[in-house]
Symmetry: C2
Subunit: 230 residues, 2 copies
Amino acid sequence: MSRHFQRDLESLQADILAMAAAVQAAVHGAIRALRTKDAALARQVIAGDAEIDRQENQVEEECLKLLALYQPVASDLRRITAILKINTDLERMADLAVDIAQRALHLGELAPIPFPERLQAMADVTAGMVRQSLEAFVAADAHKARLVWRRDDEVDGWNAEVIGELLAAMRACPEQIEPALSLFSAVRHLERVADHATNIAEEVIYLVEGQIVRHHPDAIEEGGPRPPDE
Amino acid sequence: MSRHFQRDLESLQADILAMAAAVQAAVHGAIRALRTKDAALARQVIAGDAEIDRQENQVEEECLKLLALYQPVASDLRRITAILKINTDLERMADLAVDIAQRALHLGELAPIPFPERLQAMADVTAGMVRQSLEAFVAADAHKARLVWRRDDEVDGWNAEVIGELLAAMRACPEQIEPALSLFSAVRHLERVADHATNIAEEVIYLVEGQIVRHHPDAIEEGGPRPPDE
């Protein structure tokens, strides 16, 4: 591929990484706003989404321009189609951060409800998955991507526990029904953030190894040993 | 473009339409299972997802093959990248149908709860959006795609009303808390099905007009008059 292609590809990668940094900040901000009921922070996350939408459109246009102009093949083609898909996942993560921020605002108007301890654990794992999936993408690191892939089950486990906790709160006290329902929505949004991080991890594995691991639970074990500490 | 490209593109379109038909059947089946608590139908929807996953992988491989083999430009390139994105939306719709079917199974095990009337209205609008978005894609009909785009607000309106109804049921009777929460989840899944139908509609508009309407509420009015009966 030409030097021009390499230069444009590097510029595209810089753009998607800038967008990824903004999305990661939005997810972290939304989680913090939910826990602390910080309305100003929640509004900041919501207001920041327009810029992420603009970045998504720009990355998509750049991808199509590169495909049309240079007609790349093999790994170059795969990299651009992976960026197209990761772009979509990033933008939807940002939308979910907005949804969580809106729950934070809504919770601020309702009867106070204790923030479930396990929700914090779930949020920490999810934020870690978002960070790791993007690091895996930057470094083209399939091993790190596999770590993300495996943590999705952990999030699903926390998810079930938090929902049990919220159900108990609702049954114990009718005034807690509405705030618990709002937290329940936030939990579901968080679970979807983790799903998108998993999608990105799958794209990275595909990018590095040319192997579609999506819908192939067995494939996740191939090529990468299970890490010793998990 | 060569005759070979046209032939392969037609085969790709036939494959994604076959997948779209399966996804539409899954969404309809899941909604019916939820309303009727038909466990056999719910299990059928869940079991059918593996075949849709296989179809998704196949469509993606075909898209990449066409890009690499024929290096299409302009509208041909746009068509293939649109199919890549619609492929992802279809697969996620099928996953949501599975989620709804699981809620149907879960509801069958809990205290009976009346099926909210407005949920049926919401389900009908959503199923219509899924059908119309796929028809718009098949016919490359940007006008029909705009109709889908506009109906998303209608779904969001029903969504808020159904949630109000479920909150009232929970407050009135503690035994209804768990089944109402299960219906609440199904409502959120349904709302996301409508979001994916909207994404497909946006892709169709982009495909036909080369205009990104995503994140541009004003753009939806251009090029297509408001239909008289809406």
